[in-house]
Symmetry: C2
Subunit: 305 residues, 2 copies
Amino acid sequence: MINSFDSLIRDAVSQQPPTLAVAAAADSYVLRAIRKAVDMRLAGAVLVGDRNEILRLCEAEGISLDGLWIEHAPDKEQACKLAVALVRERRAQVVMKGLVDTSVFLRAILDKENGIRRAPLLSHVAAFEVAGFDRLLLLSDAALNMYPNVDQKQGILENAAEVAKALGVENPIAACVCAIEKVNEKMQPTLDAAELVRRWREGLISNLRVTGPLALDNALFEALALHKGITDPLAGRADILLMPNIEAGNVLYKSLAYIAKARNAGVLIGAGAPVVLTSRSDHEDTKINSIALAIKIALYERSRA
Amino acid sequence: MINSFDSLIRDAVSQQPPTLAVAAAADSYVLRAIRKAVDMRLAGAVLVGDRNEILRLCEAEGISLDGLWIEHAPDKEQACKLAVALVRERRAQVVMKGLVDTSVFLRAILDKENGIRRAPLLSHVAAFEVAGFDRLLLLSDAALNMYPNVDQKQGILENAAEVAKALGVENPIAACVCAIEKVNEKMQPTLDAAELVRRWREGLISNLRVTGPLALDNALFEALALHKGITDPLAGRADILLMPNIEAGNVLYKSLAYIAKARNAGVLIGAGAPVVLTSRSDHEDTKINSIALAIKIALYERSRA
């Protein structure tokens, strides 16, 4: 089981690295991250975007284009479509957003005719390496699905389970994070948690185990759950934190990244290929971790194909 | 300005300590915390509860009753009512919950005839001492108000401002924490944030300054807010984090307390006296910090009376 980003990166290096298609690659931050990932043998890369602009940036920043392929697409929307097409044609196994609006990029991915929809839902999974934990913690959804209903939450869980499996977690445990441990009719997340546990017990959700409702402390720390008298043997052992809404997800994400200063990565899952969607303000470490995570997922999918 | 719990405790010690009325005091955890607070000269105390049980526990645990007053009330509901009555009669300046259901305790406080309602709303304020910050961070509401509407959020802000002022923060800054920085009609917390900022700008909210919508990172870190191009001079400088819902509040509370391991305290505010409502599972440090915070608020209110 992969329990750190160092071990993830070691593990994601392969003899025949999957190929990354970068949509609207003409951005020095993105180009630097790609260069580094290729040098680390994590990935091959196709830079889709304005060729002249890419050449100009690489020259200005001293970024070598050795072994990188450029597909010329001066228009950003067109670049997104072309990057997605590369996945559809199996010439790339991971898609990455460059300097283009997220909405334009996602539209190309989700396009009914030419996109790469697969699962019922696309969701964001963040991975955190938190001091004191023997595992990476997966958090979903802190970015994409705002107020998921119980069916959407099931989709989020199933997507997150795929990430956990790619990280070598045999039978991941997902905790439905709420503000309390008891079902309270006035708190929808606790009702959803009970329903998701029921579905899992009845075999309607596979690939992972589900527990909840649990507050964060009792989702993550066995000793605290025991002390509180919680008897569910899955309490305190979560690999996956299912967040009740985007505010709770985002707050936990930011708290772990900026206050606990935990190394992290993010990926979109549920499309025909894992999607890297870092933002300019992300640390370079986060960008590389995110590429490594997406590549690891692509390798996992290749191994099952 | 008080920026740590050590300085809070130093500052809350006084020549004539306010009196704590403890409702249903027959609990060894509670009795130990009270003993310590009295020994530290933070508070005087009236133990309201079953006299025989209190005497038995103190003897069994070796807790001295020197300088503690017992008001006999064998029934827990009666004990709550009596503790509240002590505040109403100005014989106590802080109320603390002992071993009794929170709902029974709160009912006595909020009782229309015999309670100690004051502000339009009772809210929970948590204070955190987070490494790297030059101030205590106040978080509300992580415990009591589940899904506050914009008027209730205003009440939560006004209550939190009172806590900030008691800690010596001249003109506290409150950030309306959301998942993003822009108003989005699909995200009610961003609409509420804009409305609260408007009310503050128009002078309808006093005693504090309001900023938002902001994600947590941009509420707390000036450098990150600047890097993101946020021009509001209040961004990154929050003393008070107004949480959009109880799940986000609780998740941040648990993340700070159990992952960032930040020292903390909690108090209920908005009644005729500050209320200490710790739970058995809280660290003794948290119980003492909470008593000190409530006492400090009582001293602040005394100074203004």
